[in-house]
Symmetry: C2
Subunit: 331 residues, 2 copies
């Protein structure tokens, strides 16, 4: 039999295990031109929360009682498509199913001799590209500038900070535990890191860590952490709005300080994006990240959870920050 995970209810607030259901399906039959894929690694990402609501967004919401989909690395276990053979590794946005068929369209072939397969979901996949494009295309860092990254120990944030260091910036990370703060400094080379869970006055802590002010704020979290960073931005600052994980589970419209006055005072910019906005930069980004990895300039961290039925819990755990780096489920 073939397990699949469907969206049972649209979550209210923080997603619960009861919002998901594992069902059993027939093993699919492979038609001419198709391949049968066996899921190996599943990426769980905060942005999936948005698709679980039925509010209009940049991508249509997941349908109730249908499998959820996300970035997946799979192995071709049967092929009736001349472009793929048994044993090929591929990645794509695929359903949360143990096995599924594909026409091959959109499948990207992966070379496990270059990087471990799971890295294609992270540092050299969508995560790395999100970090690279958001920082370079919106943040436009110049050597000597100060970058603050929220969600800094997460999949995107940890890469953003390292790219910032490679480009000659002072980099300050914000994360939710002393262990993460330590990792940011020792493993990823951040200049400073702040544990927001133990810091009383974030405004002051950021001012101290960024004595020359904040030129770029790469924001993965939104909310009150961001309010504190905003208060420290410099003239002509760029706020890269990549994610707002602190707001995704809000059940009412989240309120906060209005930003218009600040943006005028500082001639500052706030810009939201999704990675596909910059698809014309993917070739450049892949080449650049691959080179930095090869040169040992980029490190990455993964939190790997095992077992197909663990996918919903792994996803839920993102919102309490249980992951360091990329959260991956290994099947």
């Amino acid at each position: 039999m073939n397990k699949a995970i469907i969206l049972k209810n649209r979550p209210k607030g923080t997603p619960q295990l009861s919002d998901f259901k594992t069902i059993e399906k027939e093993m699919p039959k492979v038609q001419q031109g198709e391949v049968l894929l066996k899921t190996l690694f599943v990426s769980v990402d905060p942005y999936l929360r948005g698709r679980m609501s039925d509010a209009e967004s940049y991508v249509p919401p997941f349908e109730l009682d249908k499998p959820i989909s996300s970035g997946i690395v799979a192995e071709v276990v049967e092929s009736k498509n001349e472009n793929f053979k048994e044993g090929d590794f591929v990645s794509d946005r695929l359903d949360w199913k143990e096995f599924q068929v594909s026409t091959g369209e959109g499948l990207q072939k992966l070379d496990p001799s270059i990087q471990p397969l799971s890295a294609y979901l992270g540092i050299i996949g969508m995560t790395g590209m999100t970090a690279y494009t958001g920082l370079t295309q919106i943040g436009k860092p110049k050597a000597g500038e100060t970058i603050v990254v929220s969600g800094a120990a997460g999949a995107v944030g940890s890469v953003v900070g390292q790219i910032g260091k490679i480009l000659g910036c002072r980099v300050i990370g914000i994360a939710g535990s002393d262990e993460k703060v330590e990792m940011l400094k020792s493993k990823f080379g951040f200049d400073e890191a702040i544990n927001y869970n133990t810091t009383k006055d974030m405004n002051k802590a950021i001012a101290k860590a960024a004595p020359n002010g904040v030129d770029i704020y790469y924001d993965n979290v939104g909310g009150t952490i961001s309010d504190a960073v905003h208060r420290n931005i410099n003239q002509f600052a760029r706020v890269v709005v990549c994610g707002a994980i602190s707001l995704y589970n809000a059940t009412e419209l989240p309120m906060g300080p209005r930003v218009e006055g600040l943006l005028i005072k500082k001639s500052a910019l706030m810009q939201g994006f999704i990675v596909s906005d910059f698809s014309d930069k993917f070739a450049e980004g892949t080449q650049q990240l691959g080179q930095w990895l090869k040169e040992g300039k980029l490190q990455y961290e993964e939190t790997v959870v095992e077992g197909f039925e663990s996918i919903p819990q792994a996803f839920i755990d993102l919102f309490s920050g249980k992951n360091k780096g990329k959260m991956i489920v290994k099947i």
Copy 2:
């Protein structure tokens, strides 16, 4: 004697007449190299409110018990500077005084045969340049796009809308009276205009006026009007944050819906600016606005108040929208 208007108190909330004081000063003596200027027209502008507070901003605050300054057109009535002669007309940021001396540095000579002198404070002065640079450099309008302008009947807004029309956009104005709404459509050629004082559901009214959504929002007001416009923005929208007159008199940090989620969903941009950020575009802007004026493509409106001692009231009246177009005090 020579009157001057000083800042007596830092306003709390809406400025009051008692925050200002008219004092009498000696007539200044003109030293070698200086000119004596007689004030003819004084520009009062919402942004001056920021300088009356002592909060840090992009320009230092006005000092208490010292004259306030703003854009002024003056006549040279005595000259000991070879670059100026009696009868020359000039403009600069100058003090609210009937007479003052200048070294000549920074004075811009004006030609009243090209445009009426007051226009050098408005359509072909800082106001026009603010409209032109903010719209073209941040808004980046493309023909066929939809622009919403708040504070549309004001000095900047009325110019923004007309430039939008010249560039082939659909333009919707938001203003505070039926008379202003009528003026936007009949005099300035806006496609639609909305009276926010008589409209119950601004969200719906904007959706109706902008059936294809909002690509550019040129914001002069901030606050709840802006919240309603934000709800109607398209993917890749640009929000030009020029002013926030509805927030300038706030006595507490104004709160509103957090924008991060929206910016991500729509891959949208919000950018604040002050006109001097784009000083490298002033030559282009002056040439372009002058040409459009000559071709009859640009109209402008002035609300002219008379008398030196009327300056504070004219300034205060900006916040209740008593002006149509540029508010000018004629001495």
